[in-house]
Symmetry: C2
Subunit: 234 residues, 2 copies
DNA sequence: TGTGCACATTTTGTATACATTCAGCGAGTC
DNA sequence: GACTCGCTGAATGTATACAAAATGTGCACA
């Protein structure tokens, strides 16, 4: 598939990483990728460097590139850090957003609702990513944006399963998330910083519950009798 | 000056940017730099990409690289953002620091006091940078570290004049900063997170006063008589 | 004097050939 | 039988030649 531009390649690799089409920790072969995108190795390597700079991949001298891993340790810090950064970003966004940025945000939200309705899980996850990245742009704070972008990478990868509703109860949660998005848009549009923070933290709580269940899933149903036996055995 | 390794080149460019030997906004010519470091353009370009990824420089398609600028707009967000990130980093550092990291921190502080005593301003600024970057490593939080590193770039560049004491009063401030460093080390060593936060915010207050005076310097002494004339003229 | 255009120069982007490093594997030795 | 050593292949790292883009310059012309 020849004649991808460097920018296309960059965007496509980001997508494939966010959707875990490229699994965390998996190795990236330069010649394979270069051939795939119809680029020579030099520009492809530049794409990889840039991806490394934004936290999508990691590189080791003489040992190539890997998709950024998601070990249990960084998951802990993820849950620690996300609400603080999200809230501050939301506040700054409500303060500094431009009209054009607001339009883009509304458009991303339209995509999001459309794709959740269709049940297109990975597309919905990507729209959600774009929604929150746009709020990051609104904040106009390059320092915090650096944190936010990294958080969103892991957030999106973790939430891959979220938008694939398994039960009616989960469909309700997805609907709730979309409603929260709408409320956030209103708050940002009205420059209501305190409200934006509040809504963002509520949105985070919803997200966190679901993500934590993914990281540490509900225990499997067990045979009560044999469980009792094991307990006695200890 | 041939036979620099890529890593050397990376480190040296960081230094020259932090000391404003390479001024904010100044253009970086690839062939000149490549010749200077004895590298060919390919690896040099990779160094530049990495520097761009960490926020030291900016790159524009077909238009080369520039040292990251320090416009008045980002300065505002700098003062907004720094205390929050610094405080959170300090708290996490006090929680997670290893013994080896503590040793490195103490060593950086030794360098710092030695260089301020010698009056070596740019060396002192770099040691100070290293001191705070090490606290960042202790935090073990890749998300926040991304913000911190960017903040420290601008912080160090802004503080270039700080360690070149103009008046005895300023020497006292430098001494105070060094004392605060010592107190922070103790707090981190003792895992006292609350104290570490407190000390960090005090340290920031000291820093901020001095930095703001640099951004918006004290008015020059004026001839009172002619000043009165001008006032009447308005 | 000022404006616009074409050309020349400089600088960046790309492809490719070559060098180096690393990992796996087998033969030889203790 | 286990270990070391060295070979081999496959990957990454580097240099350089060439292509494309952008900037600057000189000149013609209004």
């Amino acid at each position: 598939m020849p004649n991808f531009t460097k920018e296309d390649c960059f965007a496509d690799l980001k997508l494939r990483i966010l959707t875990t089409d490229l699994a965390p920790g998996s190795a990236l072969d330069e010649v394979t990728l270069a051939a795939h995108y119809g680029l020579s190795r030099t520009p492809l390597r530049e794409v990889l460097q840039r991806l490394a700079g934004v936290g999508y991949i990691t590189q080791a001298e003489n040992r190539g590139s890997k998709v950024a891993s998601m070990d249990i340790g960084t998951m802990r810090t993820f849950f620690q850090t996300a609400p603080m950064i999200y809230a501050n970003i939301a506040s700054l966004a409500a303060e500094n957003r431009t009209a054009a940025q607001l339009d883009a945000l509304k458009s991303a939200q339209l995509d999001f609702t459309r794709e959740t309705a269709k049940g297109d899980a990975s597309a919905a996850a990507l729209s959600n990513h774009r929604f929150h990245a746009l709020i990051g742009e609104m904040a106009q704070n390059p320092y915090l944006t650096a944190s936010l972008d990294r958080l969103l990478i892991d957030h999106t990868r973790l939430s891959q399963t979220f938008y694939r509703p398994a039960s009616p109860a989960e469909s309700v949660l997805i609907k709730k998330a979309a409603d929260q998005h709408d409320a956030m848009i209103s708050a940002i549009e009205a420059h209501e910083t305190a409200l934006a923070i509040d809504l963002t933290l509520q949105h985070w709580d919803l997200s966190r519950d679901r993500l934590e269940r993914f990281v540490r899933p509900d225990p499997l149903p067990v045979d009560v009798v044999s469980l009792k036996d094991r307990r006695n055995a200890i």
